[in-house]
C-alpha cells in the first residue's frame, strides 16, 4: 500500500522521534551511571526545579505549623519532660567536657595532633525519596551555604548519610541504606572493625565479610571507626538485629538496623570536616591507640 502524501508538512514521524529520544535517554543513562560528565546538566536542571521543590515543601511546613499549634496545648508536660532531659544531659555534658579536657591533655602528652571541634550546620530535609528505588533525600542547604561533597550528615540519633551531589541552593544526601554506600564501623562492645553496607532496603544494613565465629551478638551497637577519614569516629550507626551463621559459607550474614530516623526527623546536622585536612586525624588516632596499647603492654 502506498502511503498518502501528507497534506501538511510535519517533522519526522512519531516512530523516528521515539527512536531518537529512546537512544538519547539510553545514552544519558549509561553516561550518568558510568561516567561523571553530566554534572553541569544536573546542576542546570536542579536550578530550574529547585523553586518547585521548595513550593512542594510548603504544605508539609504548614501542616507542621498546625501540628505545633495543637501540640502547644501539651506544652507544660513537654516543658517538664524537656527540663528533666536537660538536667540529665547537662550532667552527661559536664562529664564529657572533663573527658575532652583530659583527652586534649593526653594528646598533648602524646604529641599527636589536636582533635578539632567540628563545625556543624542545621539543614532541613525538603524532599524524601519519592520512589522506592532511590535512597536519597534532598536538603535545603547547598553550595551557597558552603556545603561540599562528601560531608557527613547526622541527626540526633546517629549517622544519616553523606552528601553526594551539591546544587547552588540544595544538596543531596545518599542514605547509609543505599546499596552503593558503605560505612567503616567498629563494634562498641569489643572494638572489632568492619564495614557496614547498605542493602537498598529501608532500615536494613548488612555487615559483610565477618567470619562465622566472629564475636558479635544481637543488639551490638556499631559506631563509626573513623578509619576512612570521611566519617569522624564514634558516631552511632546501627544496631545488630539478625545474625545467620551458616556453616557452609565462610562468612556470617549479619543484618543491622540503622539508628538514625530519616523518616521521623525533618532536621539534620551537616558536619564540616576538621580544619586540618592534610593530616588525616583518624589514622593518627588509630596509630596512637595502638602505640598506647604497646606502651602499656611493654613494661
Amino acid at each position: 500500500m502506498e502511503a498518502a502524501q501528507p497534506f501538511f508538512k510535519h517533522g519526522p514521524g512519531p516512530l523516528l522521534r521515539l527512536v531518537f529520544f529512546v537512544l538519547l535517554s539510553l545514552i544519558l543513562m549509561v553516561v550518568d551511571t558510568h561516567f561523571k560528565y553530566l554534572y553541569e546538566v544536573r546542576q542546570t536542571i536542579a536550578v530550574v526545579i529547585s523553586p518547585v521543590q521548595r513550593l512542594a515543601y510548603i504544605p508539609t511546613k504548614i501542616s507542621d505549623l498546625v501540628n505545633d499549634f495543637f501540640v502547644a496545648q501539651n506544652l507544660a508536660d513537654e516543658n517538664l519532660r524537656l527540663k528533666q532531659q536537660h538536667l540529665v544531659d547537662s550532667g552527661k555534658l559536664q562529664q564529657f567536657l572533663a573527658l575532652m579536657a583530659e583527652n586534649e591533655h593526653l594528646r598533648k602528652l602524646l604529641e599527636t595532633s589536636q582533635r578539632n571541634k567540628s563545625k556543624t550546620i542545621v539543614a532541613e530535609i525538603i524532599s524524601v525519596p519519592p520512589d522506592p528505588f532511590s535512597r536519597r533525600v534532598t536538603l535545603d542547604k547547598g553550595i551557597k551555604n558552603g556545603i561540599q561533597l562528601g560531608q557527613v550528615v547526622i541527626d540526633n540519633l546517629g549517622v544519616v548519610g553523606q552528601i553526594t551531589r551539591i546544587y547552588p541552593w540544595s544538596s543531596e544526601v545518599t542514605l547509609i541504606t543505599d546499596r552503593e554506600h558503605s560505612v567503616p564501623v567498629q563494634i562498641v562492645r569489643n572494638g572489632i572493625r568492619s564495614v557496614v553496607f547498605g542493602t537498598g532496603k529501608d532500615k536494613t544494613l548488612e555487615l559483610q565479610y565477618m567470619a562465622n565465629n566472629a564475636d558479635i551478638q544481637n543488639g551490638d551497637s556499631l559506631v563509626t571507626s573513623g578509619i576512612d577519614g570521611t566519617y569522624p569516629s564514634g558516631l552511632p550507626v546501627a544496631l545488630v538485629s539478625k545474625i545467620k551463621r551458616d556453616a557452609s559459607s565462610a562468612f556470617a550474614s549479619i543484618f543491622c538496623t540503622p539508628v538514625a530516623g530519616v523518616d521521623r526527623n525533618k532536621q539534620v546536622l551537616i558536619l564540616f570536616p576538621r580544619t586540618n585536612p592534610e593530616t588525616p586525624v583518624e589514622s593518627i588516632d588509630v596509630q596512637s591507640k595502638d602505640k598506647g596499647l604497646e606502651e602499656s603492654g611493654a613494661p
Binding site: 512519531p14 516512530l15 522521534r17 521515539l18 529520544f21 529512546v22 538519547l24 535517554s25 539510553l26 545514552i27 544519558l28 543513562m29 553516561v31 550518568d32 551511571t33 553530566l38 546538566v41 544536573r42 536542571i45 536542579a46 530550574v48 526545579i49 518547585v52 521543590q53 513550593l55 512542594a56 515543601y57 504544605p59 508539609t60 530535609i125 525538603i126 524532599s127 524524601v128 525519596p129 519519592p130 520512589d131 522506592p132 528505588f133 532511590s134 536519597r136 534532598t138 551531589r165 543531596e172 546499596r179 537498598g200 532496603k201 523518616d263
Partner: protein, 171 residues
C-alpha cells in the same frame, strides 16, 4: 446515562500554551510533594497523566515529554534519562491509540490510560532492575491503578480550560 443535550454542546478550543505549561508545572509540584508511606505508594504519576491528557486533546511534542522526564529524574534523584525514556514510550503508545481513545467516554478511557501508565512504570522498573536494584514488590504498580481512577477527574478539570458552552439556538 443522561440523554445528550443537543441544544447545548461543548466545543473544544485549542488550549492556550501557557495553560499547558502551568498544568505541567502543577503536575511536577504534585509529583515532588514529600509524601510518605501509603500516600507515596498510591500517588499516581501526575506528569504522566497530564502529558497523556494533552497528547490526546491537543498534541504534545515528544520533546516536551522528554524534558519533563529529565526534570523528574533530577527531582527524584534517579539516573538521568530514566523517566524521560518512560514518558517518551508512553507518549508514543498514546499516539498509536489516540483515535481509538476518542470514541470512548472518560470512564472507559480510564483503564486504557491505566495500561499506558503501567507501561511507563514498567520501563522505569526495567531500567532500575538493569541497574541492579531489587524488585520493590507488586504494590509498586498500585500508582498506575490510582492514576486510572484519577483520569476522569483530571480530564474534567483540565477540560475547563479549553471548552466553551455553545448553544446552537442562541444567536
Amino acid at each position: 446515562m443522561a440523554p445528550p443535550n443537543y441544544f447545548e454542546e461543548e466545543i473544544f478550543l485549542p488550549a492556550k500554551a501557557w495553560f499547558i505549561i502551568l498544568s505541567l508545572i502543577a503536575a511536577l509540584l504534585l509529583n515532588l510533594l514529600p509524601l510518605q508511606g501509603y500516600m507515596l505508594t498510591l500517588r499516581p504519576d501526575f506528569i504522566a497523566l497530564v502529558l497523556l491528557y494533552w497528547n490526546l486533546n491537543h498534541r504534545v511534542d515528544m520533546g516536551v515529554a522528554f524534558g519533563m522526564g529529565l526534570l523528574m529524574d533530577v527531582g527524584n534523584s534517579n539516573m538521568l534519562g530514566q523517566h524521560a525514556l518512560a514518558y517518551c514510550v508512553m507518549i508514543f503508545i498514546s499516539l498509536l491509540l489516540r483515535r481509538r481513545l476518542y470514541i470512548f467516554g472518560l470512564l472507559k478511557q480510564a483503564p486504557q490510560v491505566g495500561l499506558m501508565l503501567l507501561v511507563a512504570q514498567s520501563v522505569t522498573l526495567l531500567t532500575e532492575l538493569l541497574n541492579r536494584a531489587d524488585f520493590p514488590g507488586w504494590y509498586f504498580f498500585l500508582a498506575s491503578v490510582t492514576g486510572a481512577f484519577l483520569w476522569p477527574v483530571l480530564s474534567i478539570l483540565l477540560r475547563v480550560s479549553h471548552s466553551q458552552k455553545y448553544d446552537q439556538n442562541a444567536l
